[in-house]
Symmetry: C2
Subunit: 235 residues, 2 copies
Amino acid sequence: MMDNKKIRFTPEPTLRRLVRYLPVLQALQNKGIELVSSTTIANEIVLDPTQVRKDIEYTGIIGKPKTGFVITELITAIETFLNWNNVTDAFLIGAGNLGSALLGYERFKKHGLNIIAAFDADPAKWDTEIHGITVLPLDKLPDLAERMKIHIGVISVPAESAQQTAELLIQGGILAIWNFAPVHLKVPENIIVENIQLAQSLAVLTSRLRESFTHDNIMSGEQPNVGDNILPVNR
Amino acid sequence: MMDNKKIRFTPEPTLRRLVRYLPVLQALQNKGIELVSSTTIANEIVLDPTQVRKDIEYTGIIGKPKTGFVITELITAIETFLNWNNVTDAFLIGAGNLGSALLGYERFKKHGLNIIAAFDADPAKWDTEIHGITVLPLDKLPDLAERMKIHIGVISVPAESAQQTAELLIQGGILAIWNFAPVHLKVPENIIVENIQLAQSLAVLTSRLRESFTHDNIMSGEQPNVGDNILPVNR
DNA sequence: TTTTTCTCGATATAATTTTCTCGATATGAT
DNA sequence: ATCATATCGAGAAAATTATATCGAGAAAAA
């Protein structure tokens, strides 16, 4: 299939920063300001102005020397770039604690995601409504996904059933999966998977906390505890 | 103080990968296997073996040529490195949909986090229990945090009140914040903040989806839609 | 008008992270 | 005992990402 070898995607750090620029821009807009410089944005979120300009370059917007960027233009360009102006219908699977919370998140619609149905394996949940969204039997998923041309699936099932849920989604012709289950999904390479791994995030937090203690201890000359082995040993 | 200029933290990608090694190791352990090579781990999650070795190096564990690493040793070392063997008590603020879901997550205890109390500004929620955890009035937070020497705060309040919640936590002597609110918190630099930004994750997903469409279109010779400006323009 | 100042965007440099290469070593096979 | 093989860990190379430098253009001030 042609040489689809190496298509370059936008770097993830850039995408994440673009999201952070939006509230800054909106706040300025609310103050009635029409123009913004990369420096202003950078100051607001502690970043390098050059980096802000590089990120903005991806959206295709070009600024003017001395004045900067037109805020409305920039907001629209970022939202378009992120595909947030095309709201896509999605299915959610797993109407447990987390799934229910996600169903209640109105905000997702502003971010291009509209969850229109939920699925669960538990018959007790079938035909109930959670935040206005009906829970359906899991086995109806592939057929419905295909008929409704659903492209995004949100997985909030327990770890054990995540893989088979993913397969069900793929069977239904889904293109992208937002995965909240703490497992690495094995999927064909054309399927886009974006993970929310709470454990990973928590690991960063707890490690940093340990590291900050450790560094303090080193400074104050205290002994690290047994098992505290901390930094890579150079030998 | 002293010269705490540049203490090097473990790279975040390394921390995140270490978390992913754990289930692989546990699965092998459950099969009765005692030794593992970096290649085996790497194959399991589609990664470079050298990278696996580099990551493991941080934990202080050293392997043996030809045989690899002792699985039990490695698991313990990773968990210790992540500080998951020292379970830390924490407070959660904001007992809404998401907050409640988080309170129901038993798994966090295995990851070094034990949420022992929840706080909310809404009097209707005071003294109720969610997943066995009592919800307390928000204004009791700073005093209690200080007296109980709580080091971690989990913020799951709406965006508008996140900053003031953070300040309340800091006032109570908290050291680290796990922030689920969609805002960038402004905190003193010694405070550790780890964000779960659903919008950012979603942005990666929706962008990739757009990019994959766009690339397909390019290949099939179709015109991109108006406003699809996609890739950085080289001029 | 001319000068000053601010900011863009192109290019260059630096830092970080990932991947590759290779000698050393432990194990199992001959 | 010797050889073949798998694997480690150190260091080099490559790739990616972030930061710094600087000429040019636009606006405001002199």
